[in-house]
């Protein structure tokens, strides 16, 4: 198994399964997560990412299989494990009746930290997420990006060894996302192990040393972003868009085209090739006339399409 960082296994799962009634949200997955790495569960909504995260967060008992976190059993030792975890949930759970700083103070008390320690850490964390000047403001009027940064600061009040982030930048504008990514990257540099879920391929590429591509509660593939792209995608991708009336006919014709693989989407046709420009020249030479064309490198989106037959954000 590929390892990005240390050799100490912090989270170990074997045949991990979560069922709701007869529905298997997580269906027998195996993984080892190592200290210091950033590991991502990449998949569309409903793939079982959040259920996996809740099990790791010790707030959802596994239906079957083994799960060990920091060497302990999440069902029996959940409280002690959670004392060493930080959790950034998908929906912010900040108390909007309190100020920015009070949210940190209250949260620190949950961990039984002395008030002086909490105050010191709160100030340092607000500095870290660049919210010091808003410390005394109410939470309610803050923008989504600021709230998310505050949630991240709050999750760090107990100086966790593992930080769990469920869709950390969903719903944020591009600039706010980059600020969050930057802060998470710094945390990783400090040695915090990051475990996150995302359905954004750029986020997975930016943040994760290793990824598990999840679909229907199972792992479709696992590896570093680069390895996954090399393994499951051609070096280049040629995207073609035709007149909607010509779309089907073009798709038929391109099926026999000498490409590694062709993928027909509702609005575009993707050709997986080694050399995009020469492929485009051949397409034109065969008499097809695309309205637009784009040559790009293979991405995780292509990996996902290849593995599941669906797009990530559908």
């Amino acid at each position: 198994m590929l390892r990005a960082s240390g050799t100490e296994v912090l989270v170990r799962a074997r045949g991990l399964t979560k069922k709701f009634g007869s529905f298997s949200a997580v269906d027998g997955i195996d993984f080892d997560l190592y200290r210091g790495e950033a590991f991502g569960f990449l998949g569309p909504n409903g793939a079982g990412k959040s259920s996996t995260m809740r099990m790791i967060g010790c707030v959802s008992p596994p239906t079957s299989g083994e799960l060990t976190i920091l060497g302990a059993d999440p069902v029996r030792d959940g409280s002690a494990i959670r004392a060493r975890l930080g959790v950034v949930p998908q929906d912010d759970t900040l108390d909007v009746e309190l100020t920015v700083r009070e949210n940190l103070l209250v949260y620190g008390r949950y961990f039984g930290l002395p008030r002086r320690v909490i105050r010191e850490r709160a100030d340092a964390l607000l500095e870290f997420v660049q919210l010091s000047d808003r410390a005394k403001d109410k939470v309610d009027p803050l923008s989504g990006g600021l709230k998310r940064r505050l949630t991240i600061a709050r999750s760090l009040i107990n100086e966790p060894e593992i930080l769990l982030l469920d869709e950390p930048t969903t719903g944020l504008d591009p600039q706010a996302r980059h600020v969050v990514w930057d802060r998470l990257f710094r945390l990783k540099q400090r040695g915090v192990t990051l475990i996150l879920t995302t359905h954004y391929m750029d986020e997975a590429e930016q943040l994760c040393d290793r990824l598990a591509v999840m679909d229907h509660g199972t792992f479709a593939a696992e590896g570093s972003p680069r390895d996954l792209i090399t393994q499951y995608c051609s070096p280049e991708v040629l995207e073609l868009r035709f007149d909607p009336e010509m779309h089907e006919a073009a798709a038929d014709k391109l099926k026999d085209f000498p490409a590694e693989r062709a993928e027909v989407l509702a609005d575009r046709i993707l050709l997986y090739v080694t050399d995009g420009d020469s492929a485009l020249a051949s397409v034109r030479a065969s008499g097809l006339d695309p309205l637009t064309s784009l040559v790009r490198r293979g991405t995780l989106e292509d990996v996902f399409l290849r593995l599941t037959g669906r797009r990530l954000e559908d």
Partner: protein, 267 residues
Amino acid sequence: MAALAPSWPSSSMTFRAFQCWLTVYRRIWRSSVWSSVLGPVFYLGAMGFGLGSLVNKHGTASLGGVSYLAFVAPAILASSAMNTGMQEASWPVYGSLKWNKIYIGAQASPLRPEDIFRGHLMFMTMRLAMNAAVTIAFMWAFGAVRSAWVLLAWPVAVLTGVAFAAPIAAWAVLAKNELSFVYIFRFGMMPLMLFSGTFFPLSQLPGGLRLVAYATPLWHGVALCRALSLGAGLGLPGALGHVAYLAVLAAFGIWAAGRTYRRRLYV
């Protein structure tokens, strides 16, 4: 030194959860203070003096010979404790999952569902104690108290409130929507308030209905508070019986909430 501050409260998970509610309450206490103070004043004024002046004209033999104000005041103490208990255990519990998500945030910390519940119940108990103290102070100021035993009516009122709050919280944490709360107030709290000997002695009710009233928790709170405030009408065994009934209900609620909170939070 702050770092070496007494460790017993911070080591108690329940107390950690309770502190969160205290911080929130410091922010919002102003809005609750009016209902806590004006509620008993309005009730004591309207029932005790308004309705009371009519009742007293027709003689109060059936009330045990005391003025209507003295009769009704301890019952208002008990029933407003029920009211507070039900209020604090319904919307705030639901809101801790759906609105301000205090429970969801706390869940990711070392606190277990039982700690989260007990911390919240501790806060509800504090609110009950505050409101009951205010009500007893007004009872005394209005001249409605006949005995120093009324001091014991304070913990009894709190117990009455907890006997409602704990089971209601156990149920509210599983509520799918807010509509259920409207029903429990309309079809639970209202009839209890009207038919538990609050505003008239139960002897005025037909026999069958009287038996039903004896079985309701509020009647036990009302009967005990009234006996303590009037300093008459109840022996020790009867008093202990009332306390036992309310304590069993509270204990059941605490046990049930431990289970329902776990079921709701650890999906």
